[in-house]
């Protein structure tokens, strides 16, 4: 341990101070911090949009916003949460942690790393400015299906270029992560010694490089169809609107694994620490992650069962979808087995991680229900789908990120967060999120359609309860913000290892780590890899 700390101290580069430090930085820790803060800001932007949605749905009838604006809110809420919160947030973890976990001095391509981040604020300016252009924001849903999306007003090219811009950021970020993991591992840090978080990001990066360009292609086709007279999605010229759905979901399904695989990685780091046991089935976790990623390329049309496809297509995509339950089941089994007979303690990161395992599994099961073609004919485009993907994304991806924030914040800031407030945040969030999303299963099964500002009166009670849950969940996140700010500003001094059961190279560094770490790579052996 002391050796690693020494290496950390031998190289103290000066860097510009003030705003220039953040604008021009090539340091993975600074860039990681920028990503995380951006994600946090966008979490409240996207959250505010969700509050508008839940306020409008509190009672039947049209209350507060006009229908076009409501649809803009659902569209932008999704785009902000996916591209502005979960993706930058997990990239923030990757930036902070991968170099420290594999014993690298920084990311492989530090200047490009800066660019990957500094695209985001500009891209989101392009996206959010659409709320103020003639015709209002995009309102065709985040999936941007034509011909509806082609009816967008002046917002259309802004949205499409924002997607291109964000895609460039994601691709550069992924290239950097792959180059770092392939090329920057410390001597002895073999692939099968990589912490699972590093593995999940390696695989996620492959998914991003393979699918983001396809999304870029899809939105380019939308752009040329609207402004340049092409007929990709216009049957009058021999095209087909369904083609868009195929191209989009070829990106879109791997995208949901892009959102969740890093979350799997975070949880796989946390559960062993607080169980005081090594991760159960490390190798099977690696293979399961790779299998999920591989299979994700062959299941896209389960998002389109009701659009009209040959029967063989419906069957193929149903069975392929079911098969993903096998590697996912392996992962859940391994998480539970990691805790089995462990010496468990329940600090905030562990609580969020356990909550993740349980609630993500609920989202996984409702996903299986949706994957059954004939059942999907009933559930498609109802609130059941909304409940499903919020269980996997909020109690899945977001909860794992919260767990990760509590877990590594002491390492990053050098201060312990307020454990009592952390517990409060956990219980408030976990209870309210279930009040928010569980009733949406019932609404969906009863036939309430998604993306609609008004509804029949028989849906009133559960919508009311769901909205109350939503407001409590939203307010609880202000507590999260307060805890983070408090932890950054001060608090009990964190030790190097922080958690008594923590293993891995990042815990051998001081808390907070020096600006440059592992400038001379550490020698990793079997004994130190997991110590």
């Amino acid at each position: 341990m002391s050796e690693a700390v020494m290496h950390g101290h031998e190289h103290h580069d000066h860097h510009p101070t003030g705003w220039k430090r953040w604008l021009f930085t090539t340091n993975h820790k600074d860039i990681g911090t920028l990503y995380m803060l951006f994600s946090l800001v966008m979490f409240f932007v996207g959250g505010a949009m969700a509050m508008v949605i839940r306020a409008e749905l509190l009672h039947p009838g049209l209350q507060y916003v006009d229908t076009q604006f409501f649809n803009s809110m659902t569209t932008l809420h999704a785009l902000v949460m996916i591209f502005g919160v979960v993706m930058p947030g997990t990239v923030g973890f990757a930036n902070w942690l991968i170099p420290m976990m594999i014993g690298a001095p920084d990311m492989a391509l530090p200047r490009m790393n800066n660019w990957s981040f500094w695209i985001l604020p500009f891209a989101f300016t392009l996206l959010l400015v659409t709320l103020f252009v003639p015709g209002g924001g995009p309102a065709g849903g985040w999936t941007m299906y034509p011909p509806l999306m082609l009816q967008t007003g002046d917002a259309m090219p802004f949205v499409i270029f924002a997607v291109h811009f964000l895609g460039a950021s994601s691709i550069m970020g992924s290239i950097n992560i792959i180059a770092t993991i392939f090329n920057m591992r410390a001597p002895g840090m073999s692939f099968m010694r990589l912490p699972l978080f590093v593995w999940t990001w390696l695989i996620t990066s492959f998914l991003l490089i393979a699918t983001i360009p396809v999304l870029a292609g899809a939105v380019t086709m939308l752009l040329t169809d609207k402004y340049f007279g092409t007929s990709f999605f216009n049957a009058a010229g021999g095209g087909d609107p369904v083609l868009f759905q195929h191209v989009f979901w070829f990106f879109g399904h791997p995208e949901v694994y892009i959102l969740i695989l890093p979350a799997f990685g975070i949880v796989s780091q946390i559960l062993p620490t607080f169980s005081r046991k090594p991760l159960f089935g490390y190798e099977s976790m690696v293979y399961a992650t790779a299998s999920i990623a591989f299979l994700s390329f062959f299941v896209w049309a389960h998002h389109m069962f009701t659009v009209g496809m040959p029967l063989a297509g419906e069957l193929f995509f149903m069975y392929a979808t079911m098969s993903i339950a096998v590697p996912t089941g392996v992962k859940v089994f391994n998480w539970v087995s990691t805790m089995w007979r462990g010496s468990l303690t329940f600090e905030t990161p562990m609580l969020f991680a356990i909550s993740f395992v349980v609630l993500f599994s609920i989202g996984g099961f409702s996903g299986l229900m949706l994957g059954i073609t004939p059942a999907d004919f009933q559930y498609h485009d109802t609130y059941f789908v909304v409940a499903h993907f919020h269980y996997v994304l909020v109690t899945g991806a977001i909860f794992a990120m919260m767990a990760g924030v509590y877990y590594w914040l002491p390492k990053w800031t050098g201060h312990m967060y307020d454990e009592t407030l952390g517990q409060w945040h956990f219980w408030l969030s976990t209870i309210s999120v279930n009040v928010l999303f569980f009733p949406q299963h019932f609404l969906g099964l009863a036939g309430m359609p998604r993306r609609i500002p008004d509804y029949a009166v028989q849906f009133a009670e559960w919508n009311f309860i769901s909205s109350i849950g939503g407001f409590v969940f939203g307010l609880s996140q202000l507590l999260f913000l307060y805890i983070i700010v408090k932890c950054i500003r001060g608090g009990e001094k964190a030790t190097d290892r922080v958690w008594e059961g923590a293993h891995g190279l990042e815990w051998t560094l001081s808390s907070p780590p020096p600006y440059h770490t592992f400038v001379t790579p550490p020698q990793v052996t079997d004994a130190t890899a997991h110590s």
Partner: protein, 291 residues
């Protein structure tokens, strides 16, 4: 090349990335304004392009100076290689989206409009007069999309262009051999031949486009055939132009004495990119022009 024992090069803070973001932001905002018929659009876009090109010169210039100063060790070189490799993979996937659209339209969408498979009623309800074919010169709805006379045959200029691009793949390899043998004048001449072939290809493509638009009536608006034809060959042509520009840069660098037999990642990156546009063209020639 510096010794592999020296530490990994960590660049100082840089203002180039943020400048790139500002440039691209103006390009996108300007293009969006332009598409919305705002008069200020082209100007905003022009300013953005200027900033972006300035950034490219500045950023690449910095990296080239660092490289020539010998501060990139073997490990940095490998990072660059992985970076370029995965960038090319992402480019392949971009083209895959458009090839996918072509195959989907040709194998599924157009036959379905003609009543293939279980789509009998689609055919009856939409455009019962439509008879599917490929190339699809008469549109399902002739009132919205007009017919064109004929398509560009594969074994004319496109076949010539195939020969040109394939030979340019050969000449760039000969240039690489010359670089490895430290034969500077052969390197420069073969590189010059390569980029000339590249620009010749672009010129011939432009001529074909003019021919298609003015005489054949085949345009971007000619239904799904014109759409896939011009989008695929257009994006490819754009990539050839970028590749030929990159070849010009490494040619100028070669002339001024850059690259060493054992240290020339910049050259190899451009050569890889050039082979990539070459392979995409083969796909285009077979599936867009020929079959």
């Amino acid at each position: 090349m510096s010794t592999s024992t020296s530490s990994y090069y960590l660049p100082e803070p840089s203002h180039w990335p943020i400048l790139g973001s500002i440039g691209l932001f103006s390009v996108f905002a300007g293009a969006a304004l332009w598409l919305n018929k705002a008069g200020v659009g082209p100007m905003v876009m022009g300013i953005g392009l200027t900033i972006f090109v300035y950034m490219l010169f500045g950023w690449f210039g910095t990296v080239i100076r660092e490289s020539e100063a010998g501060i990139f060790n073997k490990q940095v070189d490998i990072s660059f290689r992985w970076g370029m490799f995965w960038f090319i993979v992402s480019e392949v996937m971009f083209f895959a989206a458009f090839f996918g659209a072509l195959f989907y339209a040709r194998v599924l969408a157009v036959p379905w409009l003609g009543g293939a498979g279980s789509e009998f009623s689609t055919h009856q309800f939409l455009w019962p007069e439509f008879s599917p074919s490929w190339p699809m010169s008469v549109m399902p709805d002739p009132s919205t999309f007009s017919a064109y006379k004929e398509v560009i045959p594969a074994f004319g200029v496109p076949a010539l262009n195939t020969a040109i691009l394939l030979s340019s793949g050969g000449t760039v390899t000969i240039a690489h051999w010359a670089l490895k043998r430290n034969n500077r004048s052969a390197l420069c001449w073969w590189l010059f031949a390569t980029l000339s072939l590249g620009f010749l290809f672009v010129g011939l493509q432009a001529m074909e486009y003019a021919h298609a638009y003015s005489e054949l009536g085949l345009t971007l608006k000619s239904g799904i055939y014109g759409t896939t034809f011009f989008m695929l060959t257009g994006f490819h042509g754009l990539h050839v132009t970028i590749g030929a520009t990159m070849l010009t840069v490494i040619w100028l660098r070669s002339v001024s004495g850059h690259f060493k037999p054992d240290h020339h990642f910049g050259f190899e990156a451009v050569a890889w990119y050039w082979h990539f546009v070459d392979v995409v063209w083969l796909g285009l020639f077979v599936f867009v022009y020929w079959l």
